[in-house]
């Protein structure tokens, strides 16, 4: 952990002193996180790419203000999140905050008595669950991605989003519960 903080400090100092390739290295280290946040928020690859670029240019402009009070990863994640959020607001697609207003896909034929263990390998079922995840509002979708894919603890997600830990837990809980209910309503069962 300490080694990680030292590496982070060295990298930031290298970027600030304009060392060759230091900023490129920083981008390479955090581009995956940035992509996951922006893509989950806007769901458009081209827009997400532009937002990632905007994020890193802002990181470069504001890096001298970074005080090492939180991990660099969280600081960059917060910038990516706020840029994506503002982008959605500009697009007048205000991110629905409540999971209850999410319209999960409802027009498909019911899944008849799928065995969940077999379903694990059943690409059709998996792609339906993917569609269900995609249908969630941008903010819960992004929180779930940070929690499951990035394996971030709730406290770190709170640093990125500026939400309270309780709100984040509530989003995660209701998002997964909604998906589970939706799966069960569609006839997924254990044989």
């Amino acid at each position: 952990m300490k080694q990680e903080a030292n590496d982070e400090y060295a990298l930031v100092q290298a970027v600030l002193s304009r060392e060759a390739c230091a900023f490129e290295e920083l981008v390479r280290l955090y581009q995956r996180l940035c992509w996951h946040i922006t893509y989950r928020m806007v769901r458009d690859p081209d827009e997400a790419r532009d937002l990632c670029q905007e994020t890193f240019l802002r990181v470069h402009r504001q890096l001298h203000q970074f005080r090492f009070e939180c991990p660099l990863k969280s600081w960059i994640g917060r910038i990516a999140y706020s840029i994506a959020l503002r982008h959605l607001e500009r697009r007048r697609q205000m991110p629905a905050v409540s999971i209850d207003v999410a319209d999960l896909p409802d027009d498909e034929t019911p899944i008849a008595a799928v065995d969940l263990e077999a379903g694990w390998a059943d690409e059709e079922l998996v792609s339906r669950v993917r569609a269900g995840v995609d249908a969630l509002p941008p903010i819960p979708r992004t929180l779930l991605t940070l929690f499951h894919l990035e394996e971030m603890p709730v406290a770190e997600i709170a640093l990125i989003t500026g939400m309270s830990e309780g709100t984040i837990k509530s989003h995660l809980f209701r998002g997964r519960l909604r998906l589970k209910d939706w799966l069960q309503r569609r006839g997924v069962s254990r044989r």
């Binding site: 893509y39 990632c52 969940l116 993917r130 929690f147 809980f173 909604r178 069962s189």
Partner: protein, 141 residues
Amino acid sequence: MNFSETEWQQQNAAMRQARNLGPGGTQDMDLACYQLIARVLAERPQGDLPDEFARQTAALVPDDRRQRYWRESNIALLVVFGMLMASCMAAAHFVLGMKWDGVSKNLAAISQWLTYEPWLLTGVAGFGIVQWMIFRMRVRE
């Protein structure tokens, strides 16, 4: 949908099981559903940033030396312009014997010159245009 600590624990247990063991091992329908959901949520989203994204982004960062060059050349241009103006005023005073008659009178005289001497107007306008172009280039940089 009220928060339930038991169900929250179940969701997280399913996440850990999906991460470590893969599917199955449970007769609990809810847990099995959560395992499948956890598997999908842990998938990387479709698409990705191009391989050269880091290099391209780093290339977009403004070059400090270039910015400093523009800033310094702009200042130098202003200094040259100021010196030219001062030389003109000194020449007008010492060679042509013109006197300083106060701001308003001198401004009136300058505006008369601008009207009568198109080359002077062209020069001032040209300087303005060059300054504007330099400003635009700096903004683009």
